[in-house]
Symmetry: C2
Amino acid sequence: MNYCSECGAKVEHRIPEGDNRVRQICGHCETIHYQNPKIVAGCIPEWEQKILLCRRAIEPRHGLWTLPAGFMENGETTLAAAERETDEEALAKLTGVQLYAVYSLPHINQVYMMYRGELVDGEAAPGSESLEVQLFAEADIPWNELAFPVMSETLKLYFADRRAGSFPVRTGDLIRMADQTMQLTRY
Amino acid sequence: MNYCSECGAKVEHRIPEGDNRVRQICGHCETIHYQNPKIVAGCIPEWEQKILLCRRAIEPRHGLWTLPAGFMENGETTLAAAERETDEEALAKLTGVQLYAVYSLPHINQVYMMYRGELVDGEAAPGSESLEVQLFAEADIPWNELAFPVMSETLKLYFADRRAGSFPVRTGDLIRMADQTMQLTRY
């Protein structure tokens, strides 16, 4: 951020009075421009013991597989965001959607909120951001072609919980360390 | 938003190609400025069957009681945000912190993520945003002086779950209707 989005003047980088973090503050109108993490909402769509994955038609990770997910919009709920993303990326409708996993990714200022829900009729087709969509049995999941570590983690937990017969909400963090390796914490 | 935060030119309000929502787009450098919901992270601090509330020293709802909570910052996890807010508002350290409730408030573009955790030593004192802090038994909760409906909802669920002996993660929405009443959905 270089300019104030309210008045167009240059922003300064300093700690406001009573705060303890450097913020972007307008030098003219004094507006403080806070930056906060974004929520990525998505879903594990289920159908007859299989789950639906989308092959990405966009960067990053073009051509790799992922669960339908994307940035939550203003004015919607996290559940509605998960349903909307599933509809946009896989042209699929869900029922019985429940929160399943919440993971923080602080190195990219994102919080993933992954739901699980049943496809209404088993129907799905690629939306504009997907090359193809496909139902996979656990044995057929393309583990080496998944787009994002948080999706691999979510799916591992999901299949373990399915075998155990219950789906408590799972929480944790995926943190990129200084040496670029990812550290997973479950709590 | 009136001006582009990147280049300072005027922003236009239109739907970008391939999108379906009106966005704020720079007329000069074409940057699309997305607006997304913010996460409010907080905690139910527990100590010997009592829970800790803070009386607000700031607006909105100055003088009313609430659980420690505030906006999650970039670069932190949701759990760290809940611990930090408890430390800032009640000068209290937590242990064994677990996610407890996730509520969307789409009319103000916020998602509340409320944890519960035990005070390390029972010690607490008002931070700069609190007039006082106090441990309350369930029978003494000032229900009519709570600052926010989402906090009343969280505490109602919490005491019911405590009586039942388990704390599954609770999810729902609090939506302001056209007539200004709040509609609560649990799912």
